[in-house]
């Protein structure tokens, strides 16, 4: 996965959206930006939203840095009056950034470029761009300024770089979807969280982890298992280092997804750890009719009195009385993550902010909390003394809302579901997948357990659902979702159009297994020959339907037809299954319709005894490895 090979660009995606953008009334053309932007409805020109995802103060607290994901920029604002000082272009889809130990540099993780941008905080120029591993999502320098630690979401590791040269020294095995890094207050440890669950046996409780790194030795010192937590986000520490707080998402995927009206889909949680609590404990943020959907970022006031949590789907900041929280935890031994009466004991306020609130920054005196509202291009400023919204900073950019922008908002918000409990992004983390299997209602409870398929590059892969039951996205996203998932009001026609347009627009992320110019390695080439072969190793013709390339045909690897590949389980209604596309299949485990194959290998080593899922039983182990190497390039 260290191979460069970024063949896909947002620009190419946007070029393919002609049919989508025509749906939107005219909007202005905000000039001056070119990359990673949303198409305007009429002209085909682009609108370049800022999409702030993280904020941080400079070392001297005079400046505010805003990481703008869609604009591919770091914007520098005055911390006094929020006036713009400069916009600094960085790489594609930056996801995380941080200050160096002495504050002289900013490191930016460009997730789709697989690079770090190094910004000099004096000149406000990018002074270096360093290659890193697959989908870097956050970066932190150690307290001595010796190492950079980079969380790589796809390679599931933390790269250790020389902080001065950017040369990678090693990679530490992290959990799946390593994404966020937080140093302990004394800097001796780093705490890494992960957006995808670690592999576990099929239909068992999901589990993620907080990977704890010793910054002096640059090794993994410990792992804090997060039982039931499939998706972890930011961590914050109290100033005394005695309390760590991580934002986490607890899916209830082992019960039928039919109980939204009984609060049955997710628990939005915080994970508390450190000496203040002893053994790590998960506490809920939700309350009946008042949910804190997808907690993302956390801040703790310097006096440890308040904990602030951004909640993406609910579009709020949840405010917690830390003292009451700790009292409650000590008085009520867990587990209580699903207790909807718990949070009333410690949640003291819910502050409405903008669409899709993400990263936060607390001023040094703890009086101001800044919140990046990704889908609103604003920064909310919260007065922590009153727990009220003090002001809103509007970032430069288009004010018009394109179809895509509105669709993205519909995708991320929880407002359409019953009591605002979940949104599309609950299962499609950052518009991808969740690594889980679910028991959905439309097929009958306990029937048709399904793996959650990724949604990137969906265009021209219909029908949808594993049984191919939904002919198009409006059906998939509309009546099916409204009736079985949301259990609430229907989308209006325009909103559904926005949503479908957005989903159809999602591009494939860069494939990390392809070589830069699309050529194949020898193993990949051998695997490709197996993929397209028509004769087995004994010289016998392989029936057409038993050739890989027959079902997985076309540029996306799907014939868009259903086949029985011999994987029907006792709980399945039918063995006929829609052929999934192969886009970035290397990263979307588990596999098969019910997630029963934990790895690509298991599809054929375990679940293909009769060669129904392609003729493979004549292959040697090394040939099967070659086939998989090729599939990883798709």
């Amino acid at each position: 996965m260290s191979r460069p090979g970024l063949n896909s660009t947002w620009a190419s995606v946007i070029a393919g959206l002609g049919c989508c953008v025509a749906l939107m009334p005219g909007v202005c053309n905000w000039a001056g930006r070119t990359a990673h932007a949303a198409a305007t409805p009429m002209s085909g020109a682009v609108l370049n939203y800022a999409s702030p995802v993280e904020v941080l103060f400079s070392k001297d607290a005079t400046r505010l840095f805003v990481l703008c994901q869609q604009a591919n920029e770091v914007r520098v604002l005055s911390a006094a009056d929020y006036s713009v000082i400069k916009s600094i272009p960085v790489g594609r889809v930056p996801r995380g950034f941080s200050l160096s130990a002495n504050g002289d540099r900013i490191f930016v993780a460009n997730s789709w470029d697989d690079t770090l941008s190094v910004i000099d905080t004096g000149s406000l120029e990018v002074v270096a761009t360093w290659p890193v591993a697959a989908e870097p999502s956050n970066v932190v320098e150690d307290r001595e300024g010796a190492y950079l630690f980079v969380a790589n979401r796809i390679s599931n590791d933390v790269a250790v770089l020389d902080a001065r040269t950017g040369v990678e020294e090693k990679r530490l095995a992290a959990g799946r979807g390593a994404s966020y890094i937080t140093p302990s207050p004394d800097g001796s440890r780093l705490y890494v969280t992960h957006v995808y669950p670690n592999p576990t046996p099929q239909r068992t409780i999901p589990e993620s982890e907080i990977t704890v790194i010793d910054t002096v030795r640059a090794v993994v010192a410990d792992r804090i298992p997060l039982q039931g937590i499939a998706h972890g986000f930011h961590v914050a520490f109290s100033a005394d280092g005695r309390l760590g707080v991580a934002a986490g998402l607890y899916p209830k995927n082992l019960v039928p997804l039919a109980h939204l009206d009984h609060a049955g889909a997710f628990a939005d949680t915080l994970i508390l750890f450190g000496p203040d609590v002893g053994k790590p404990v998960e506490v809920p943020l939700d309350e009946l009719e008042r949910y804190a959907v997808r907690p993302f970022a956390v801040a703790i006031t310097p006096d440890k009195s308040r904990i602030f949590v951004t909640c993406e789907g609910s579009e709020i900041v949840t405010v917690i009385d830390a003292r009451r929280l700790l009292q409650w935890v000590h008085a009520h031994p867990g587990p209580h993550v699903q207790d909807l009466s718990a949070s009333a004991n410690y949640v003291v306020a819910r502050i409405g902010v903008g669409h899709d609130p993400r990263g936060v920054a607390l001023s040094r005196d703890g009086l101001r909390l800044l919140v990046a509202n990704r889908l609103e291009d604003t920064i909310s400023v919260i007065d922590t003394r009153t727990d009220r919204l003090a002001s809103t900073i509007t970032l430069a950019g288009p004010r018009q809302l394109t179809v895509l922008r509105k669709g993205e908002r519909a995708f991320y918000t929880a407002r359409y579901s019953f009591q605002g409990q979940i949104g599309c992004a609950n299962c499609h983390i950052d518009s991808t997948f969740d690594g889980l299997t679910w028991d959905l209602e439309p097929d009958g409870f306990g029937r048709d357990i399904v793996d959650n398929r990724p949604i990137e590059d969906l265009k021209e892969t219909e029908p949808y659902k594993w049984n191919g039951g939904n002919p198009n996205l409006p059906t998939e996203c509309g009546p099916r979702t409204e009736k079985y998932f949301w259990r609430a009001e229907n989308y209006d026609d325009l909103t559904l159009t926005d949503l479908v347009t957005y989903v159809r627009s999602l591009p494939p992320r860069p494939n990390r297994w392809r070589l830069p110019h699309g050529e194949l390695t020898p193993a990949q080439e051998r695997g490709r020959a197996l993929f397209v072969r028509s004769v087995d190793k004994f010289g016998k013709a392989i029936p057409e339907a038993n050739r890989c390339v027959y079902c997985h045909s076309g540029p996306k690897g799907t014939s868009q037809k259903s086949f029985d590949v011999g994987t029907k389980k006792a709980t399945d209604n039918s063995g006929l299954l829609d052929t999934p596309q192969l886009t970035n299949i290397a990263i979307t485990a588990p596999y098969l319709h019910d997630g029963s194959a934990a790895t690509l290998e298991q599809i054929w080593t375990i679940f293909n005894p009769e060669d129904k899922h392609g003729r493979t039983n004549d292959l040697t182990k090394d040939e099967l490895n070659d086939l998989i190497e090729y599939l990883r390039t798709r």
Binding site: V212, V220, R223, W513, T599, T620, N625, I628
Partner: protein, 375 residues
């Protein structure tokens, strides 16, 4: 036979740490107390140890210990019934319930950069990282076979010896490369050991000698016994001592090879072989070899633990006849001198060796031994 000498005082032998130059390079003679008419012969100074032995009574998971690995102050023991970790004077056991691939842990390797430990088992390959165990099998990964006799970490690559060939896992790409009779000069595919360095990778193949991979040239070479598969040694130093190789260790550009019929040292041009009849090796049946440097190596045989300092030999074991602790020293002239000792490794059947500074850890068929160097 050679003259025998008995050393009466424990302090009579000068200490030799594992990291020190070989005794042949020392100028000062060791003090000896002669007990025979030939007592004026000087006895080489060889390292002395006080052996502390661990068994299930001390918390070791099982007394049948296949492998041992030193990681700073932590000791890993691969046993027939789990992976043991000795830390802060206590044993912790990892089993299949913790995610270990199989209860029988045959081989261990440390990724010195990350601190991760790799365990080759009878049921797959496991990585122990920060307390988490990830397991790779022939069903869930590209691993060539679940019986993993050997593992060695070099850079971002994990090299594996299995019952169905060798393989390599690239930790950055996740790609598995398999090495077998179809793409290497390997005749047999029963691979017992592997030693990987940035320049060369060596596989010990049971019945097929030694396979060498040049990392720079990306080419394979093969070393076989010029006498074929016979147990006769017609051309002793003209090649590998025997086809049935069990272990190897590549250090300081020197390859040390263990076989069931003697051992070999190869410097890239010349072979030098060791047999019981003309060396201090206690048995030709050798399970494991571990080189200290270009001149020195330790050998684990079915009849005790042996050390070769480039000239002289020392053997550490319970006596084959009485079971009492025994140490003997053999000098360059073939003189064998018993040395009075009060401790010995737990058993003569030695399966694994690792170093901890000047101490040594020894995996045996009946316990794990810590040889504490005696100054």
């Amino acid at each position: 036979m050679n003259n025998l000498y008995t050393i009466s005082l424990l302090a009579a032998l000068a200490p030799v740490a594992l990291g020190a130059p070989p005794s042949s390079a020392k100028s000062g003679p060791a003090a000896v107390t002669p007990h025979t008419a030939s007592a004026m012969t000087k006895v080489p100074a060889m390292p002395r140890f006080r052996f502390e032995n661990f068994t299930t009574d001390n918390g070791l998971p099982d007394n049948h210990v296949f492998s041992v690995l030193v990681d700073g102050d932590r000791i890993w023991a691969g046993t027939e019934n789990g992976l043991g970790l000795y830390e802060n004077h206590a044993w912790k056991t990892y089993t299949t319930k913790d995610g270990l691939a199989h209860r029988a842990v045959l081989s261990l390797a440390l990724d010195k950069r990350t601190g991760d430990v790799w365990a080759g088992t009878m049921g797959g390959l496991s990585r122990i990282s920060g307390g988490r165990i990830d397991t790779f099998t022939q069903l869930n990964s590209g691993l060539s076979n679940d019986v993993v006799y050997g593992v060695s970490v070099e850079g971002e690559n994990v090299w594996v010896a299995t019952a169905a060939g060798g393989c390599k896992l690239d930790l950055h790409t996740g790609e598995w490369s398999l090495y077998n009779e179809r793409n290497t000069p390997m005749i047999e595919i029963w691979v017992y050991g592997v030693s990987a360095t940035p320049t060369k990778v060596y596989y010990a193949i049971w019945g097929s000698g030694v396979l060498e991979y040049d990392q720079k040239k990306k080419t394979w070479d093969k070393y076989e016994d010029p006498d074929g598969e016979t147990e006769m040694v017609l051309f002793k130093d003209q090649g590998l001592i025997h086809e049935i190789t069990t272990s190897l260790s590549y250090v300081d550009n020197i390859l040390w090879v263990a076989t069931y019929f003697g051992d070999s040292r190869y410097d890239g041009r010349y072979w030098h072989n060791f047999l019981t009849k003309d060396s201090g090796l206690p048995s030709n049946f050798t399970n494991v070899v571990k080189g200290v440097d270009a001149n020195r190596a330790w050998f684990g045989t079915d009849k005790g633990l042996a050390y070769y300092d480039g000239v002289n030999w020392a053997v550490y074991r319970p006596s084959l006849t009485t079971g009492k602790p025994e140490m003997t020293v053999r000098d360059a002239q073939g003189n064998v001198t018993p040395v009075e000792v009060s401790t010995a490794p737990a058993h003569n059947y030695v399966l694994g060796i690792d170093f901890q500074g000047s101490d040594i850890w020894v995996a045996t068929a009946k316990g794990l031994s810590h040889g504490i160097h005696q100054p």
